[in-house]
Assembly symmetry: C2
Homo-oligomer: 205 residues x 2
């Protein structure tokens, strides 16, 4: 995401590919995801991440920089599957895009491995302005605008966001706050109800 | 909400109606709403609420009990307008219920006075299990089940929750995380797009 010379992205690519440091970096990232998911952005500290990864805080700063940059790197990892969503959505025929988008998103939330970083993002973005702005930047640039580019309507971006809002709201109620009966409803039943709504927002009249 | 003999509700009603203590109680509640909205459940302390209300912590405990009970009382206040939603929804003819529900909810979020406690609830429920369970209990008992009772369908509760999810998702994107263009879109434009979807969830085929 950060492609500027000093950003974490280029720093990572510029570093010599020693197995040990790659392993350490991944361990720090995994610890960061756990910490952000458990505690949210505010209550997570670089020191806590370092401790949970079994390394010194200085090493976390060395690899990533500030707490905001660690968060951005952790979110970037969580965004890899989101880019799958985007690509799946972009590859689908336009009249199938609602179901495709709905299925991929539920797939991410139903999978316990991808659910954790998603929870981390949601919890942090809801509670902290820095995290919210990282989230806004990535979601807007990587997802919303790209999907909107496929839709031939003057209000394409608003359409994508209304569709996303339906999915975000269900994720909140089913996976984050866990309100019944939607939390335990059969996922196919929910998809069957939601996909046409998402499609309607995207390409409806 | 708490109607048991020891609950905050009966304690409040049982207390002699001295102007001073009523004023103090309201000041504590207002401070609690501010603190929960700013910091979320986890980072809010009874001591911080007391300090911001200009009273001793012991007085907060005296009026409300534990932090969870202060939170419940603060949420209860935030829920008063939600009951307006419910009553408006229940009073509407069934084929107008989608627009009514949408309008009342946007009314609450557009109003800076009611937005703050809503933000407090969302932030806390997303980040803390105790807060989430207070939220679940209130939303389920006071809103979802009551509205579902008006809808003649075997999956009435799921319908209400899918409708609510659309509104929750828009609130998240527009008011909490503030993603553009939905954050600045004309509210009437958004209502016009969303009300039919809410109606469809509630009473559609």
């Amino acid at each position: 995401m950060t492609d500027s010379p000093g950003g974490s992205g280029s720093r990572r690519r510029g570093r010599p590919p020693r197995t040990e440091s790659a392993g350490t970096r991944d361990r720090i990232l995994a610890a960061a995801r756990e910490e952000f998911a458990e505690r949210g952005y505010d209550k997570t500290s670089v020191r806590g991440i370092a401790k949970s990864a079994g390394v010194d805080s200085a090493l976390v700063h060395h690899y990533f920089g500030t707490k905001e940059q660690v968060f951005e790197a952790a979110v970037e990892v969580a965004f890899a599957p989101a880019l799958t969503v985007r690509d799946a959505v972009l590859a689908a025929p336009l009249d199938d895009v609602g179901e495709r988008m709905t299925r991929v998103l539920f797939g991410l939330w139903e999978n316990s491995v991808t659910r954790k970083p998603l929870l981390a993002i949601v919890r942090s973005a809801v509670n902290n302005d820095v995290a919210a702005s990282v989230f806004r930047r990535m979601v807007t640039a990587q997802l919303m605008r790209r999907i909107a580019g496929e839709i031939d309507a003057p209000d394409a971006e608003l359409r994508v966001e209304l569709a996303a809002a339906q999915l975000v709201g269900i994720a909140m109620m089913r996976y984050v706050i866990r309100i019944e009966p939607i939390a335990s409803a059969d996922v196919e039943q929910v998809i069957a109800r939601v996909a046409p709504v998402v499609q309607g927002h995207l390409t409806g009249p």
